[in-house]
């Protein structure tokens, strides 16, 4: 391989990397631009939202006293965390089985998995509700969480399938050869390797659950109105800018968390010298 050809390949690789970095930057600007708008207008005095009439923290004060919003947020967070956790665990288990084991009916299982993706959510939600009513299941947190798990399970499973398919089998076999029991192989080798994918899977599942409207509308029960449902039901009298304020608060909390972990990162790196 000639030197010039190698240089050329390296340059191309370098240019490609720069392209990826810059393009990603643009995408993140695209992602966060509407949020900037939301934050800015949460401080707007008027109640119509999105026409600047003056600075005010009125909506934050209103939000503070709005028990219904906080209750809805609580429901969404609890359901989201529970559904995302269950779905990630189940997804990892299924994905591992599919990647490592041979079993009959694999195609059928794949088809089963894709069903919640392909069937429109309202059809799924109404049918699930009818099913719950027939078996006299109570409508509330349980039905909500089950419904959300249904909606996000295909996502978590398929992400973990994508992740486990890249997992090198030799690592597990090497660990087994070195004397690790099957359980140790799982805990010490497989799970740490899959952790980034499990994290991605959990995040996606949580997002979908937190934002979910259709399934939540039909299978929620008394006292379990989720946040998106509450916001949608405000449409008739006009969505209050309290929603902007709540969104801003949540964004701020996330950013603070990110900053604190980032600061810890920086201090650790500094200490290392």
């Amino acid at each position: 391989m000639s030197r010039t050809r190698r240089r050329w390949t390296q340059l191309r690789a370098g240019a490609l990397d720069t392209f990826f970095s810059v393009a990603t930057g643009v995408v993140y600007v695209f992602l966060l631009a509407p949020i900037v708008i939301v934050v800015v207008y949460s401080f707007d005095r008027s109640s119509t939202g999105f026409i600047w009439t003056g600075f005010s923290t009125h909506w934050y004060r209103t939000l503070f006293h709005d028990g219904q919003m906080w209750q809805a947020l609580r429901v969404s967070l609890v359901v989201g965390a529970a559904a995302a956790t269950c779905a990630t665990v189940l997804g990892t288990m299924s994905a591992y089985a599919m990647a490592r084991r041979r079993f009959r009916g694999r195609a059928l299982f794949n088809a089963l998995l894709l069903m919640p993706l392909v069937v429109p959510e309202i059809v799924l939600a109404v049918a699930f509700l009818v099913f719950l009513v027939r078996v006299r299941a109570p409508l509330g947190y349980f039905s909500l969480i089950c419904g959300h798990i249904l909606v996000v399970l295909p996502f978590t499973t398929l992400i973990m399938v994508a992740a486990t398919s890249g997992l090198h089998r030799d690592l597990e076999e090497a660990a087994a050869d070195l004397g690790a029991s099957p359980r140790q192989v799982v805990i010490r080798v497989i799970v740490p390797l899959l952790l980034p994918a499990m994290f991605a899977s959990f995040v996606l599942a949580f997002l979908f659950s937190f934002d979910d409207i259709v399934m939540s509308t039909f299978v929620n029960g008394v006292g379990t109105t989720t946040l998106p449902l509450l916001v949608y039901s405000m449409l008739k009298l006009g969505v209050s800018p309290e929603v902007n304020a709540l969104g801003t608060l949540l964004v701020a909390v996330t950013l603070v968390l990110l900053l604190t972990t980032g600061v810890r990162q920086a201090t650790v790196m500094l200490k290392r010298g």
Partner: protein, 359 residues
């Protein structure tokens, strides 16, 4: 790399802690388990957001000791569909007028025992015997409003008085119609001089044709944020429900709401009692409580809607009483009507509406 995820675990724990904190300072609204025979009395309401102010609910709880939860829905359609599919747990529901008819037809609600509603006579006469529910057999109206049109006088020289303005080519690209079949057909029938309860095939065809002709002039069909778009100026004129216009008209003096001379329509939101209700006594107590003039006036003043309660009118703030986007003068309402059989009308109009939207 594992260290990163340890940090994230810390972040996760912090987040969970935040949730616990929220749980501690949030209100004591619901989340409790089902009913039990010796438990304190409960009431479960399924209603539009903001139409039963939180202060009203807590005042009721304090006065009667009945623990009340209010869950919200975003449209009559989802509420009816959910109840039709068998969802239970709610006692009182707050549907709009056409949904009352649908719920009654589906056998999901019961006739009300007026003897338990001692404050019933406080309602305006027109709401004691409504055209969509003769004798108020099933429902007790709570608030009302109209379907008409709204415009921004920065772009359109008023006054606008007729549905025809929504077909005006001068406003091409800046007209919005409601994304609701029945609402759109109200305009389409009335602009042709027909009654929108007509089942005459020729009249239906003409109305559909009007909508088809209007399509190229439209900015779109929107039942979500049309009020904001009107206020921002992207839309100049739109078909509207008055309740959506009230907040924007308050801050933008260029916005006007009009009930067109062809009649328009009026809507009411009221309470019905579900057949599957478990807390029937509490439900009647609540409705009766809301029929009290002082309570109705306080709620109306807080949430800026038009109350159906006549006895409460003197206590309504003048600014709200004189707001044309809240109270349409009763004299103007004489041509406004409602759908007498929404289910039947839906069946007749579906095919044309789908064709209109599928181009």
């Amino acid at each position: 790399m594992a260290k990163h995820f340890r940090l994230l675990a810390i972040a996760g724990v912090l987040l969970v802690g935040l949730v616990a904190l929220l749980a501690a300072c949030g209100s004591s609204n619901g989340g409790s388990s089902g009913s039990s025979s010796t438990a304190p009395k409960q009431l479960h309401i399924y209603a539009w957001s903001g139409e039963i102010p939180a202060s009203t609910v807590s005042a009721f709880e304090k006065a009667t000791g009945i623990k009340t939860t209010v869950d919200t829905f975003d449209s009559n359609e989802t509420m009816v569909s959910k109840l039709q599919s068998g969802a239970t747990g709610y006692d009182l529901v707050e549907p709009s007028q056409y949904a009352v008819q649908e719920l009654a037809q589906l056998n999901l609600i019961v006739a009300l025992d007026k003897s338990k509603l001692t404050n019933f006579s406080n309602l305006m006469p027109m709401f004691q015997n409504v055209i969509y529910d003769p004798g108020d057999k099933y429902s007790v109206p709570w608030i009302w409003g109209t379907t008409g049109l709204a415009y921004n006088d920065k772009y359109i020289k008023g006054p606008v008085t007729s549905w025809k303005a929504l077909w005006d080519p001068a406003y091409k690209g800046h007209i919005l119609m409601l994304d609701n079949m029945l609402a759109a057909y109200i305009a389409a029938f009335q602009v042709n001089g027909y009654n929108f309860n007509s089942t005459d095939k020729a009249q239906i065809a003409k109305a559909s044709q009007s909508l088809m002709q209007q399509r190229p002039l439209l900015m779109g069909y929107n039942a979500t944020n049309f009020a904001q778009l009107l206020s921002q100026g992207q839309c100049w004129i739109c078909e509207a429900w008055n309740s959506n216009i009230t907040p924007v008209a308050a801050s933008n003096k260029h916005i006007h709401y009009v009930l067109p001379k062809e009649g328009g329509s009026f809507w009411t939101d009221g309470f019905v009692l579900l057949k599957s209700a478990k807390n029937v006594d509490a439900a009647y107590q609540f409705i009766n409580y809301l029929l009290d003039p002082a309570v109705a006036a306080a709620a109306s003043n807080e949430a800026h809607f038009a109350t159906a309660n006549e006895a409460a009118l003197p206590q309504i703030k003048a600014s709200i009483r004189n707001d044309p986007t809240v109270y349409t003068p009763l004299s103007e309402l004489k041509h406004a009507t409602v759908f007498l059989n929404p289910t039947a009308q839906t069946a007749l109009l579906q095919a044309d509406w789908t064709k209109l939207r599928a181009q």
